[in-house]
């Protein structure tokens, strides 16, 4: 496996710890090598030391087993080179041939692009020109591409066109680490392996759906990046629309890569476009102001390094939208995503309709809340179902209670990290949990309309919300107008 951008944070925090954990779980082949490729002039001992400290800090099981690490690190290599330098790719090829020969590897190669997006097309072109991307099934050459995949519909289309000149679609693994999370995968099992939920999963029984992707962190030194991206590009276009597609899709004909992707893309294509004149009623954006998170004062977005004092990049977005399909006709989906929220949480909450006839009197009716099925993607992955129950005693009093399933308690261990699962899937040639070209373009097509409307908007300033709060009042109004309110996740 070759990691481009090996000197970056992702490699140290996620990729190497994932590979180490897979080794520890005996899920990687005994003969395996990792080559870090980056522009930095580093050497193998320094790279290995840096990766070890990353594993000590971020691996799922700590501390690192010294014996295992000593074996593992012998297969960790480093190669310096420029992404736009064809010679560096020729040198990389020679190095890979040498390593494979020395270790007796069969020549299967995975290239992981953890670089700035502007380098994706160049790297893939250079890989192709160096003869590193043969289309053969065995030995294979596959490329994992990190997000963001484009910044709008036009750039995503262009990038797809560029990389398709070198790679077949089946060689491309566009990674969205949300799809590697156990609960996201479990969503399909929950829906399609249980007989009781799918019959309720439609507009007859579902009142509305809420999706929340909240982070407590701010831009964490990535102010310049966030100025260009905003939360709509950073979170919604990829992670959260993928979650929407899994929650709303029709049953696939089989649990196979293209069967699942075919159903997901139908959902993304069925997202009803928000017309420019409907933006105010369907979209709320805002920026965080200073406030308090986890007991400490934090600055406002415009006071972050690299952020313009007149910035219009949104750190909060709330959307109301519909999916034009038989299943979801008339069911509003409310989605919000933001930085500097009170707690870090990603969840899907299916709010069911109220019982059609309330038997238990007005006073009890006040206490009866609609059932909510909440699927927690992170942290504390699990599922809860709220329902009303009679309070023990002679009076007929009803109180909401909750049934809860948590991975940690039910299976006795925390689920594996998303990167472990996705890297392994790529090696096994299973693209089910990766996004296909048409999915990316369909989600950009929907998102880009919102960006276009914002670009055309005359609004000078965005509303603000205090850090540590659940967003601006306008976001509450989005639901209040419909007689609903945000669930506190």
């Amino acid at each position: 496996m070759v990691i481009f951008g090996a000197s970056g944070d992702l490699t140290r925090r996620k990729l190497l710890p994932a590979l180490y954990s897979l080794t520890r779980e005996r899920l990687l082949p005994a003969r395996f090598a990792v080559v870090g490729f980056a522009r930095s002039r580093s050497d193998e001992p320094a790279f290995r030391a840096d990766m070890r400290s990353g594993c000590e800090e971020f691996a799922r099981r700590r501390p690192v087993d010294p014996d295992l690490w000593n074996t593992f690190e012998k297969n960790v290599f480093y190669q310096a080179g420029g992404y736009d330098d064809p010679e560096a790719f020729t040198a990389l090829r020679r190095r890979l041939d040498e390593i494979e020969k020395a270790l007796g590897l069969p020549g299967n190669r995975v290239f992981y692009l953890s670089t700035p997006p502007s380098s994706f097309a160049t790297i893939i072109r250079n890989l192709g020109q160096a003869g590193l991307t043969p289309a053969a099934e065995r030995p294979f050459a596959r490329v994992i591409i990190e997000k963001p995949f484009g910044i709008d519909l036009a750039s995503a289309r262009q990038l797809n066109a560029d990389i398709h000149q070198t790679l077949a679609e089946r060689q491309i693994y566009r990674i969205d680490h949300y799809l590697g999370k156990e609960t996201v995968q479990n969503l399909l099992v929950f829906r399609f392996a249980n007989g009781i939920f799918e019959p309720l999963w439609n507009n007859r029984y579902v009142d509305h759906v809420q999706i929340t992707g909240a982070e407590t962190v701010g831009v964490e030194g990535r102010g310049a990046y966030f100025e260009e991206a905003g939360i709509l590009r950073d979170m919604v276009q990829n992670h959260l629309l993928q979650v929407v597609s899994l929650a709303a899709m029709e049953p696939p004909i089989a649990f196979e890569t293209d069967a699942v992707r075919d159903e997901k893309v139908k959902v993304l294509r069925a997202l009803k476009p928000i017309a420019p004149g409907e933006m105010d009623a369907h979209v709320v954006r805002a920026q965080y102001a200073g406030g308090s998170i986890a007991g400490r004062r934090v600055p406002g977005y415009r006071d972050e390094p690299g952020v313009s004092p007149r910035s219009r990049a949104e750190t909060f977005v709330a959307l109301k939208f519909f999916i034009d399909s038989w299943r979801w006709a008339g069911v509003p989906f409310y989605l919000r995503s933001a930085k500097r929220m009170p707690r870090r949480v990603t969840e899907i909450a299916i709010h069911f309709k109220q019982a059609p006839h309330l038997l238990f009197g007005k006073r009890s009716a006040d206490a009866i809340r609609p059932n909510v099925l909440a699927i927690r993607i992170q942290p504390d992955e699990g599922i809860t179902l709220n329902f009303g129950s009679k309070v023990p005693g002679p009076a007929l009093e009803i109180a909401p209670v909750m049934m809860e399933f948590r991975y940690g308690s039910s299976f006795g261990s925390e689920p594996p990290d998303a990167y472990e699962r996705l890297i392994l899937d790529c090696m096994l040639g299973d693209g089910t949990l990766f996004t296909r070209a048409d999915e990316v373009e369909a989600s950009w097509a929907w998102i880009s309309r919102i960006h276009d409307a914002w670009a055309a908007s005359r609004a000078h300033d965005l509303p603000t919300y205090e850090a540590g709060n659940w967003g601006p009042d306008d976001a509450d109004d989005l639901l209040t107008r419909d007689g609903r309110s945000w669930r506190r996740p």
Partner: protein
């Protein structure tokens, strides 16, 4: 491995507070539960998020005892917010977590809930609302217990109210009229339903007074011109005002004219209100503060409910409910000899539990409170 030492886990399992980092409360709590469950199976339960505000550090122990005792009846995720504006030293913000463990009869099973205590001094109070937002468990209703001090209209109260579906207050601790008016304004602002421990204490008194007019007496005396005198504890007029508000709402009295008066010795205070009743008759209501004993303490018979006696005089015919010793009341009617009955003697913990049940929010309270706030406004106007 979590790296939690066994002493901490043991203390946590026993229900003792364990200090945690403010920034990692949820994580440390999860780790403590996980480790504690290694030793024995644990059933965790929560029906509410219970945010308890303590405005004086001297009341913290009492508040924690209260929520600890409530755990048997209402398992909850408790978040105690303790602020002391006078504390000069110590960290600005601190946190402890503990378990509230309840054994089922026979001890075959224990059910645990959790309690997070945040203590702040100085500017640390600014972190209370964001932390409460972060720490309330999803999917559960949230109640705010603000019972040791009169409800304040400050920023913290407003922020916490935004989180809460129920506000539990105690008009039994309200000493000034302004506090009652504040509570009425808060009730108007909040989406929260208000439950009042003072109102719940007053319940048996209201029922006994209303019972005086059951058949064969009937309600005619309440519609005739007359005078009602409500004796209440000094500096505890809120209960009396709520009692008047309740009567007014039930009997259709119009908004009052008011007059204040003060007795010569300065030890007791009286207020008179005049109301028009449906049909045009007038009812005068006197609120009379009961004299304190020589030592300045309140009469034992008053208990904590504030109202000591309610008397109706309709030109010769007298009806009365008077508190007597031993938490009893004497009922007086013109048609029968006086009789003594037991008054409600629920503890504060039992009242808090009641306040969280559906019956805790009494729709009559909102009307009585609004009327009482009008009485306060009328009193201020005539001062």
């Amino acid at each position: 491995m979590t790296g939690i030492d066994s002493g901490r886990i043991e203390r946590f399992s026993r229900g003792e507070p364990v200090e945690v980092e403010v920034a990692a409360i949820e994580r440390e709590l999860s780790a403590l539960w996980r480790e504690a469950a290694q030793a024995r199976p644990i059933s965790r339960a929560a029906l509410w998020n219970l945010i308890v505000y303590v405005g004086r550090s001297a009341s913290l122990v009492e508040a924690k005892d209260l929520v600890g005792a409530m755990a048997s009846f209402v398992p909850a995720r408790v978040i105690v917010l303790s602020y002391d504006g006078h504390e000069a030293s110590g960290p600005e913000l601190g946190a402890t977590v503990e378990s509230n463990v309840v054994s089922t009869p026979g001890g075959a099973r224990t059910i645990s809930s959790e309690e997070i205590t945040l203590t702040a001094r100085g500017a640390g109070v600014e972190h209370f609302a964001p932390l409460a937002r972060a720490l309330t468990a999803p999917g559960l209703p949230t109640a705010l217990l603000w019972i040791d001090d009169p409800p304040a209209r400050g920023r913290l109260m407003r922020q916490l109210l935004m989180l809460s579906g129920r506000l539990v207050v105690d008009t039994g601790v309200v000493s000034g009229d302004g506090d009652l008016a504040s509570l009425h304004q808060l009730a108007g602002l909040a989406q929260a339903r208000v439950a009042d421990l003072g109102w719940l204490r007053l319940e048996s008194f209201r029922l006994l007074f209303a019972g005086l007019f059951d058949p064969p007496v009937g309600g005619a005396p309440l519609r005739a011109p007359g005078r009602i005198t409500i004796h209440h504890q000094a500096r505890r007029a809120a209960s009396a005002l709520l009692f008047v508000g309740w009567l007014a709402c039930q009997l259709g009295w119009t908004r009052p004219e008011a007059r204040d008066s003060r007795s010569g010795d300065g030890r007791h205070e009286a207020r008179r209100f005049r109301f028009s009743m449906p049909g045009g008759a007038r009812m005068e209501v006197d609120l009379v503060a009961a004299p304190t004993t020589d030592g300045g303490t309140l009469p034992e018979a008053a208990g904590t409910a504030g109202v000591v006696a309610v008397e109706l005089d309709t030109g010769g015919a007298g009806f009365a409910v008077r508190r007597t010793a031993g938490n009893r009341a004497e009922l007086c009617l013109p048609v029968a000899p006086p009789r003594s009955v037991k008054l409600d003697s629920r503890s504060r913990m039992e009242l808090c539990v009641e306040a969280l049940r559906p019956r805790g929010h009494d729709p009559l309270f909102a009307g009585a409170l609004a009327f009482a706030a009008d009485l306060v406004a009328a009193s201020e106007w005539t001062r």
